[in-house]
């Protein structure tokens, strides 16, 4: 392997690292990024930005065959398209502003739908802090948009290009290891040799198998099937029926972990996550009265676009080796939430490692892997929380208590919104699962939940006084 001693010396002199890795990028180094979704673009953007701060000049090629300008699945990255409250703030601090052509709707609240009623949870400062975005250029049957639309992935890609990254519109089908360097092979053109290859191809890409075959210990993350579809309702209808809220459902449907309806421009996106999503589950969900109530005249319109993409539910094993690092969904992602946020975190951790610590297996193990492990450990707590959520989904008295406690809190001002903040962070992905779980152990939370468990079930009619809309059955105490 090449030892870039001059570069190391420079960086040691600059005091950037006490023990800099001997395998490092130097001026003129070539970096290949496989995949131009959020993880690939974030990685390129941060790598170029950080490299600039220390006067390091590197060349980045992003391999992405899609332009993200075509409507429908061909130009889409198959995802619900939510940029979390947490990530919106971090991006703003990074100088990445999401303009109106990228944001299809600013979300300022969540509506939680259960069989016992519906409750609205507002953002803490009552401002639009969650962005609903397209991952491509809109659904298949979208037609010409009344305003300019730019997909989130394309927007990030353009930012990376404005910093100096080059896009190669080629599909990578193989990564090999020859003469101490990773080589990238495409279906057309000669193979290219790089000093570093970052794989940000997602979980649905065919390029992961050849990387697993390189035998450095990488194992593709375990994945589950999801369902995403779009309905055309028109902007006015969406404003009237769905508003600027994301709609979440806690329904007693086996194998369904999360369900959300996300308003975007003239369309709404439906996202179903769980361990066994199939046609029958989708039909059961769409037939639920709580779901139908979200649509005009309680009729669910026909879908204009749909897909069954996979999401990872367990972390990859060893997503790095000398000169190769796997980021975003190809590595580790948060369980059921904030996939774009995970792409941001892993991409930034990888870029920071590459620029300030080196590109060896040891550097990635010491400086990149802890970020992945942290996400993975938090997912274990998340799994426990979703198990609890299952119990709530299946037990009507706990649903009543949860509904009553949240609805009552929403009528109050100040910091005493225990259940609301737990649900908000759980649904938005704004806080780690560990932090949310610890909040539920606080005596005040437990005491209030206990009180609402009694009050909500001894006299369920009391629900009508809270800031939610109880179903007729519950309002009448049935």
């Amino acid at each position: 392997m090449r030892r870039s001693s001059a570069s190391i010396e420079d960086r040691l002199t600059a005091g950037l690292s006490e023990r800099f890795d001997p395998v490092a990028l130097e001026n003129g180094s070539r970096v290949g990024v496989i995949g131009g979704g959020p993880a690939g673009s974030f990685f390129s953007l941060f790598l170029l930005k950080m490299a600039e701060t220390i006067g390091l000049d590197v060349n980045i090629d992003i391999y992405e065959p899609r332009h993200f300008v075509h409507k429908g699945p061909a130009g889409c990255n198959h995802c619900g398209g939510i940029v979390s409250e947490f990530l919106v703030q971090l991006l703003a601090a990074e100088g990445v502003r999401l303009p109106p052509e990228v944001v299809q709707r600013g979300i300022d609240s969540y509506m939680l739908h259960m069989d016992v009623g519906t409750v609205r949870i507002d953002t803490p400062l009552q401002e639009k802090r969650i962005a609903a975005v397209y991952r491509g250029n809109g659904p298949r049957d979208a037609g010409p948009a009344p305003t300019r639309v730019v997909g989130f992935d394309r927007y990030l890609q353009d930012l990376a290009v404005s910093r100096g990254a080059k896009i190669r519109r080629q599909l990578v089908n193989q990564v090999s290891w020859e003469e101490d360097r990773p080589h990238v092979h495409c279906s057309t053109g000669p193979s290219e040799v790089y000093d570093l290859v970052a794989v940000a191809a997602g979980i649905n890409s065919n390029v992961l198998q050849p990387i697993e075959g390189l035998e450095f210990g990488y194992r593709i993350p375990e994945a589950a099937r999801t369902f995403i579809c779009e309905f055309h309702l028109g902007e006015e209808t969406i404003r009237e029926h769905l508003g600027t809220s994301m709609h979440l459902f806690l329904l007693d449907i086996p194998h369904l972990e999360c369900a959300a309806i996300i308003p975007k421009g003239d369309f709404v996106t439906l996202c179903l996550l769980g361990d066994k999503i199939d046609d029958s589950l989708v039909t059961t969900f769409l037939d639920a009265p709580e779901v139908r109530a979200c649509f005009p005249e309680a009729i669910v319109p026909r879908t204009v676009c749909h897909c069954f993409p996979r999401i990872n539910i367990k972390a990859a094993v060893r997503p790095f080796t000398d000169r190769i690092v796997l980021i975003g969904d190809s590595g580790v992602a948060r369980l059921y939430k904030d996939g774009i946020g995970s792409a941001y975190r892993t991409a930034k951790a990888a870029a920071r490692t590459v620029v300030f610590h080196g590109i060896s297996d040891e550097a990635f193990a010491k400086h990149y892997w802890p970020t992945c492990k942290q996400i993975d450990a938090d997912n274990s707590i998340g799994r426990f929380m979703f198990t609890v959520s299952h119990v709530i989904q299946k037990t009507r008295p706990t649903r009543r208590a949860l509904f009553r406690m949240t609805a009552t809190e929403q009528t109050r001002t100040g910091n005493r919104r225990h259940m609301s903040s737990v649900l908000w962070d759980l649904f938005t992905g704004s806080a780690p699962y560990r932090e949310i779980l610890l909040r539920t152990f606080r005596p005040a939370f437990v005491a209030r939940l206990g009180w609402n468990l009694v009050a909500g079930n001894v006299a369920p009619g009391n629900l009508a006084s809270a800031n939610g809309q109880p179903t007729n059955g519950d309002a009448n105490g049935h």
Partner: protein, 126 residues
Amino acid sequence: MGIRSLGKRYRSGESIVRQGAAGNCMYVIQEGQAEVYREENGREIRMAVLKEGDFFGEMSIFDREVRAATVKALGDVRILTIDKKTFMRRIQKDPSLAFDIVRTMSQRIRQLNCDLAEMRARETET
């Protein structure tokens, strides 16, 4: 400035932050412009006009002091709030997050030095 925007909308002339008030967040302009005023001896002195992408209120995040100036909407404006808690916690794990803010603060100090030098030069001439 409608459904496709993030942040909170402020009408023209509306105060976003007030000089002397306690602050636990910073702000980023999403759309529109804002003007910065400082009250001195009962007079409002206009300090700067901020545009899309500019941030303000960052000093209160770092130094725990009250707001140093008043910021008002110049025309309709959309502002995104960044919580101190969210930001400071993240900085502990990722110090590079503060890079853009430090760079902008550095540019502002540089500009202040120039303004101060010009003022001193004018005083000397008179």
